[in-house]
């Protein structure tokens, strides 16, 4: 195995970690719209929902690019992995795409008309999309690690129901619960007033559920395909999540958010360490597993990609950090302007 092949395996892992850390919280905020958006009356409910959406407004689009980059980088660095994974997870991916489409349209269009029916429809698009997408991303990633039936040509031979096995469904629920917790902690960090209090209270409950699910998923995965290193990251993930819940109960909102961010990143690290040295193991005897070595691009392509990643990733991280700094101010219902005067 070449160094660069290993580097790119790590970088793909990093991109997925970045995706779940960043879009994870905006999935959470979207999915919590009914629970944390509920006020005493319709006017307050609408204001609370707008506060929630505005906290993620400047960021969700950039966050989603991590998924596109993970996809593009997999295509460039491991074409066989990209080809096999995307064609194997055909229908779940279709659903992920539809979920992302309706959710993104919801963000952009919801406030463009002052009409309750219009808003209610887009709210459901946002909520549905924010629940379905992280769940299915979790199902897909868990299937990758756990193994799916690939024949001698590394072609997928299963169907939709092959992918909906107990472990993968559990993995999906874990990613969803983690995103909800992460989103609640993000809201507690970015809002003022009663939303902040409610988000903190709900975050603790969600965190405990996520911790329960995560422990079962990671133990199951660890026992079946784990390595020493994946156990180390499992322990860090669990510690970070418990630390986050503890920090949350102590009203240390920044630390709580950092805690769930570390949990999401370490959960992805665990997946990738459990995966190593495969990228897509076959569950069939006689099947051809895709490995870091046999699925990768040529040395030249990897070299070019490495150069690009070294130069441009720091730049991207810098301006991304700038946007979080620019929009660092907490938002409350008092900051919400009147609805646009368009029926």
């Amino acid at each position: 195995m070449d160094t660069l092949q290993l580097v790119w395996f790590g970088l793909i892992g990093l991109l997925w970690a970045g995706y779940l850390v960043l879009e994870g919280f905006d999935f959470g905020v979207g999915a919590l719209l009914p629970a944390l958006g509920a006020g005493r009356d319709a006017v307050e409910t609408e204001k609370r929902r707008r506060v929630m959406l505005t906290t993620i407004g400047p960021h969700w689009d950039g966050n989603e690019v991590w998924l596109l980059t993970a996809g593009g980088a997999t295509f460039a660095a491991f074409p066989e992995w990209y080809a096999t994974m995307f064609s194997a997870f055909y229908l779940p991916l279709l659903l992920v795409l539809v979920a992302l489409i309706v959710r993104n349209m919801g963000f952009e269009y919801r406030g463009k008309r002052d009409d309750d029916t219009w808003r209610a429809r887009w709210d459901w698009a946002i909520i549905g999309g924010s629940v379905v997408a992280p769940f299915l991303v979790g199902v897909a990633l868990t299937n990758v690690v756990h193994g799916v039936p690939l024949d001698g040509d590394s072609e997928y031979t299963g169907n939709l129901f092959t992918l909906l096995n107990p472990l993968s469904l559990l993995g999906g629920l874990t990613v969803l619960a983690l995103s909800l917790t992460h989103g609640a902690f993000f809201l507690a960090l970015k809002t003022t007033g009663t939303i902040r209090e409610d988000a903190r209270r709900m975050g603790t409950t969600l965190g405990l559920v996520a911790a329960g699910l995560a422990v079962v998923t990671l133990l199951w995965l660890g026992v079946s395909t784990g390595s020493v290193w994946s156990w180390v990251t499992t322990v860090i993930a669990a510690g970070a999540l418990l630390g986050a819940i503890f920090a949350n109960t102590k009203r240390r909102e920044g630390w709580a958010f950092v805690g769930t961010a570390v949990t999401a990143a370490m959960a992805v690290a665990t997946y990738f360490l459990a995966l190593y040295p495969d990228v897509m193991p076959s569950s069939l005897t006689g099947g051809r597993s895709l490995t870091i070595e046999n699925a990768s691009s040529s040395p030249l392509t990897l070299k070019i990609m490495t150069g690009a990643a070294l130069v441009f990733t720091p730049i991207v991280l810098l301006y991304t950090a700038y946007t979080y700094y620019t929009f660092r101010k907490r938002i409350g219902t008092q900051h919400i302007p009147a609805a646009v005067a368009v029926k």
Binding site: T69, A76, I101, M305, T320
Partner: protein
């Protein structure tokens, strides 16, 4: 029911053409909105503030759909075309990854800052975020067109018999493919033409509706800026298109022959503006035929020789045979009945419609500039039609251009290297491709209705009255934001 190949091709056509309705609007409009915003920051004249806000909103309504349909595109290669992805991923994947890393992050991140930045970001920096978004869209075009140019004219690769795939040998060659160097200006200039035309059309409609009011000069400004952009860009589109025709004749002669339905090799080959009857080489009657024009378009000389379809069929068959022998049936299969021609009527008509709609846009832009000179307002009610048609014509011209380019490449997926039939995903059933095709079509159709309605609502509403943004400057901590979702 069709084979999964047929359905996958239809799906690619539908999702790509749909996606590309929004792309040129995004590229073109982001540039003009950035210009308005910069002018506002420089002059602080209220009209620029109003135009920035007004066209900024229309831009965002359009951008949302361009964005979401773009995600589908990136995943579709792996989902429906996995054997294609396996065979050329070593080369084709890199520009896509570059696009995400260099372009998508830039445009998405800075557009977020632009949308929410009113009153929260210093004004010069704020205007520059729209420029950065615009640069992102142009970079994105560069990389995706480099990937497409590889499919038209593969360069910078070698076949590796050990891995059984095409592998990168020269990335610079891929990025500076001669097809790419002329396609990129052609496509980006077409996008400016679209952006200018949308702004001109919307401005013209409002100028006529609100003539005699205080808003008249604001909309006249929109018409004139939009028309200048569309007119200048369209000249560039013609020039780049001319060069492109010559390169196409050189590297994909079949496409040029199909564009004229030219069956026999000719020097001094004519170009027909229209024709009646089947274009199968037997009975078509050409109307308004310009002698030597096809030769000129293809070779730069009226006496140049342009190869005809009948001769090229033989060449193409030899090419397919060679690739099939060399790389095996996973890469290229011989086409039944030796039918190595694209669908001729499609190539013939899309080529003409592309040019015809483009030229009409150019004429409309020139007319609008003329009639609005020295504070003029177009009077005749025919101008309403010009206003409505101007944005649509270049968008449709773009679609036809792409249909021509992509269908003119058939039966090849990568010209001279891989046939389309071998690229489709073997593990995906025809039922699955049908499901995704129906789902995309329904979702896209519904969203199109919503988008167009919303766009028109905001057009009719016109530009908001001017509010001095500096009044918000010393607002207290709890003052409402200037923009929130």
């Amino acid at each position: 029911m069709g084979s999964s190949l047929d359905v996958a091709r239809w799906q690619f056509a539908i999702t790509t053409v749909y996606h590309f309705l929004f792309v040129p609007v995004t590229i073109g409009m982001s540039g003009v909105v950035a210009y308005f915003h910069t002018q506002w920051v420089r002059t602080h004249r209220p009209e620029y503030y109003r135009l920035t806000k007004f066209f900024g909103k229309l831009f965002l309504i359009n951008f949302a759909l361009g964005l979401v349909t773009g995600i589908v595109q990136e995943f579709q290669f792996g989902m429906n075309w996995s054997d294609y992805s396996r065979f050329v991923g070593d080369i084709f994947g890199a520009p896509l990854a570059f696009e995400a890393l260099l372009a998508f992050f830039l445009e998405s991140t800075f557009l977020g800052v632009w949308v929410f930045g009113w009153g929260r970001v210093p004004e010069k920096l704020h205007a520059s975020t729209m420029w950065l978004t615009h640069i992102g869209t142009v970079l994105s075009a560069y990389f995706i067109l480099a990937a497409n140019s590889f499919m038209q004219h593969p360069v910078g690769y070698t076949f590796n018999p050990d891995t059984g795939r095409a592998e990168m040998s020269d990335f610079v060659a891929v990025l500076t493919n001669k097809v790419q160097l002329v396609t990129f200006p052609h496509v980006v200039l077409s996008a400016y033409m679209v952006g200018g035309a949308v702004i001109m059309g919307v401005g013209l409609w409002l100028l006529r509706r609100d003539r005699g009011t205080d808003d008249e000069p604001v909309y006249r400004k929109a018409v004139r800026v939009g028309a200048v952009v569309a007119l200048v860009a369209s000249v560039g589109v013609v020039v780049s298109g001319d060069v492109q025709g010559k390169i196409m004749t050189e590297v994909q002669p079949m496409k040029m022959a199909a564009a004229e339905a030219l069956y026999d090799t000719e020097s001094n080959a004519p170009f027909s503006v229209l024709s009646i009857g089947a274009l199968d080489g037997s009975s078509a009657t050409r109307i308004i035929e310009v002698p030597g024009l096809l030769s000129f378009l293809g070779t730069g000389s009226f006496d140049g020789t342009v190869e005809g379809i009948n001769d090229l069929k033989v060449t193409e068959r030899e090419m397919a045979q060679k690739v099939a022998d060399q790389y095996g049936p996973d890469v290229a299969v011989l086409v039944a009945d030796d039918d190595y021609t694209p669908i001729i009527p499609v190539a013939y008509w899309t080529f003409r419609l592309m040019m015809g709609f483009g030229f009409l846009t150019m004429i409309f832009a020139a007319m609008a500039l003329w009639t609005t000179r020295k504070g003029g307002v177009p009077q005749s009610r025919w101008w309403t039609w010009v206003a409505v048609l101007t944005p649509l014509l270049p968008i449709i011209a773009n679609s036809f251009g792409w249909i021509f380019t992509e269908m003119g490449r058939q039966p090849w997926l990568v010209y001279g290297l891989m046939t389309t039939a071998t690229g489709v995903s073997p593990s995906v059933s025809v039922g699955e491709v049908w499901v995704s095709m129906v789902v995309y079509t329904l979702v896209y159709a519904a969203l199109a209705v919503v988008e167009v309605k919303l766009f028109l609502t905001y057009v009719k509403r016109g530009a908001d009255p001017y509010e001095d943004p500096s009044e918000h400057a010393d607002a207290d901590e709890d003052a409402p934001l200037q923009f929130a979702y």
